[in-house]
């Protein structure tokens, strides 16, 4: 396996709301390997967006560490972080909100380089044209403003801006949820092409299990601020252990009417304990917050499958 690019240990982020403390994420631990695509699935309120933003230090963690290529980002202040910012970028769900409506598209893509004082103005312009080509936009896009574009094209601009600094880690937070399915397919294909071309590492955050499956090498399941299970894609989709993971997978609509009525039994999800779980390594690079019986069942099923085949 490749080397670890990101090591998250025991990460927690809290929000204060009056006298109340809301623990958005708590006790999150996982690694991201260089060149891989790690999917994070979760429903609304699971803390998936907070997790992404904390890793990129757009939020300050309450507890825990974020090691990026061996350097601890969790305790850095804004000034120290600035040096590292170019190495990790984010793509948001709604590019209309995350991109300035006043600037020209060329300026939007150039801006990160200006802030980092990279290259000469002429080199920067050339770099912008290069990025426009990489994301499949015409050169004429340079002079336009963002509102002249459709949702899919806007997301292409956002991707160009994120990639112009040659980042090593890209966190995409629901990058295709606002798009029509046919446009969604184009953007997903583009993200995959660019990953190979620029050797990018992705953390791909989404509520859509099919999209995460398509985009990821490994997948982590987040619920109510806790990471419940994390494993290689095929392992987790075929052998889910945590009841919550099972219930999520059982809820995906099947795109085949012949499979109606073949649904798995509904899964009873026990209430989540208030403290973050300790993930147990059950081998096969599969980590899960499960009790002994669930793990025994899983192992027995595996044995049965083995002896059958």
């Amino acid at each position: 396996m490749n080397k670890k690019l990101v090591e998250i240990r025991n990460l927690s982020t809290q929000f204060k709301k009056g006298a109340n403390i809301h623990k958005a994420i708590e006790g999150i631990t996982f690694d991201v390997y260089e060149g891989e695509s790690l999917g994070i699935v979760g429903e609304s309120g699971s803390g998936k967006t907070t997790l992404g933003r904390t890793i990129l230090r757009l939020l300050t963690p309450f507890h825990g560490t974020i090691q990026f290529d061996g350097i601890d980002l969790s305790s850095m202040d804004a000034k120290q972080l600035r040096v590292w910012r170019k190495d990790f970028q984010m793509i948001f769900q709604n590019p209309y909100e995350s991109l300035s409506p006043r600037l020209k598209v060329g300026e939007i893509i150039e801006e990160p380089m200006v802030i980092q004082k990279m290259l000469t103005p002429k080199e920067r312009t050339n770099k912008v044209y290069e990025m426009l080509e990489n994301v499949g936009l015409p050169k004429s896009a340079y002079q336009k403003t963002i509102h002249e574009f459709s949702g899919g094209q806007r997301q292409r601009v956002a991707i160009a801006r994120a990639l112009v600094m040659n980042p090593r880690l890209v966190i995409a937070d629901e990058p295709v949820s606002a798009l029509d399915v046919s446009v969604q397919a184009q953007i997903l294909n583009l993200l995959k092409e660019l990953q190979t071309e620029f050797n990018l590492t992705y953390i791909f955050i989404s509520h859509d299990l099919s999209v995460v499956h398509h985009m990821s090498d490994r997948v982590g399941v987040l619920n109510k601020g806790h990471m419940l299970e994390i494993a290689a894609k095929n392992e987790i989709y075929q052998n889910p252990i945590h009841p919550y993971t099972k219930s999520l997978l059982a809820s995906i609509p099947k795109v085949n009417p012949m499979m109606r009525g073949l649904e798995a039994e509904p899964v009873e999800v026990p209430p989540q304990p208030p403290y973050p779980p300790h993930l147990i390594d059950i081998g096969n690079d599969h980590y899960v917050a499960a009790d002994v019986i669930e793990i025994q069942n899983y192992r027995m099923n595996k044995q049965v499958h083995k002896s059958e085949s």
């Binding site: 609304s44 397919a185 997903l188 099919s210 809820s251 995906i252 099947k254 795109v255 085949n256």
Partner: protein, 325 residues
């Protein structure tokens, strides 16, 4: 089976200061009692406009420019707003995507349901509270009397959507139009809500017109499917036929653009790829009906053609009209 809704040749126009544009054209379909018909398409396909036209809820700059909407043999297009109000909510009800805007934030859930019952004078006042509680338990609330006294703001998205369904079925409508009813919800809640609607439909023979962009929902819940593209139905069939044998390149493109878990493809096929691949239709698969080449304008009329029993596909007909400009 009784035909509940029969839409014939519906045409809807929208006007702006400069011009009038056609949003929906040549749309014909019917919904029978107890049937779920799905209208699937992407944004701008005209699927929501079609549903608004049926309900007489088009925005001010839209109008029905032609066609008929018959509901149990009564042409709704000809009705006055007052007559329409008696049908809306009572015989046909609607569930929208965003429950937050459909519910009154200043009124308790129970009161909102009771109000609907009173408006259509279905229950004596004394009994309406009991009926509201019954409806809330039908839609899966374990503690209907608590929900009855809560404001919409106190409920989660899924709970609000369930309260909205309780209101939608309160007058025992014969047709429910559900416009992206679960798009804003989590997958686990989405399944609960749609199973609930499906179960209700089976028990009561209610018809459902499901408007969605999601082929997954169509394959799980629809009996028949209409695929809309640029204001027109481009393919129509029962759900099994459509998934077994999609014919129109747009339908195929849409189906191939969805990532599926059982599917090992690295790259998805987009609608655009499909259009290029199927260029055999003289390259005019997604072309407008009117197109110019070398200063000559061609009109290529299109029509829905039955390719197998009950399976209709829109093709450009061979008959071409040429007009010089």
């Amino acid at each position: 089976m009784v035909t509940m809704l029969d839409v014939k040749n519906l045409k809807v126009m929208f006007h702006s200061k400069q011009a009038e544009m056609v949003a929906v054209d040549e749309v014909s379909f019917s919904v029978r009692a107890g049937e779920t018909v799905a209208l699937i398409g992407e944004s701008g396909s005209g699927k929501s406009v079609t549903s608004q036209a049926i309900m007489g809820l088009l925005p001010d700059n839209g109008r029905i420019a032609g066609g008929e909407v018959s509901f149990l043999n009564q042409n709704l297009v000809k009705l006055s707003e007052k007559e329409m109000r008696r049908i809306r909510g009572m015989k046909i009800s609607m569930i929208f995507q965003d429950a937050t805007v459909s519910l009154n934030p200043t009124m308790k859930i129970g009161k909102q349901i009771v109000e609907g019952l009173h408006y259509h004078q279905l229950f004596p006042k004394k009994e309406s509270k009991g009926e509201a509680l019954r409806l809330l338990s039908i839609v899966g609330f374990e503690n209907p009397s608590d929900i009855y006294h809560q404001y919409p703001g106190e409920l989660s998205g899924g709970m609000k959507q369930r309260a909205l369904i309780a209101m939608a079925i309160s007058c025992e409508p014969q047709l429910v139009i559900a416009d992206e009813p679960t798009t804003a919800l989590d997958v686990t809640i989405q399944k609960q809500i749609l199973d609930l609607m499906d179960d209700y439909k089976r028990r009561t023979e209610t018809s459902i017109l499901l408007i969605t962009h999601d082929f997954g929902l169509v394959s799980e819940y629809a009996d028949r499917v209409l695929v809309m593209y640029e204001g027109k139905i481009v393919e129509a069939a029962d759900v099994f036929t459509l998934f077994r044998n999609p014919v129109h390149p747009y339908t195929k493109g849409l189906m191939n653009s969805i990532p599926r878990i059982e599917d090992p493809r690295v790259m998805l096929q987009t609608v655009r790829d499909m259009a290029v691949q199927e260029g055999t239709f003289e390259g005019r698969v997604f072309a407008p009906e009117v197109f110019s080449k070398d200063g000559v304008t061609y009109h290529a009329p299109s029509a829905l053609i039955e390719v197998e029993k009950g399976h209709f596909v829109r093709f450009f007909t061979n008959k071409m009209e040429v007009s010089r400009t």
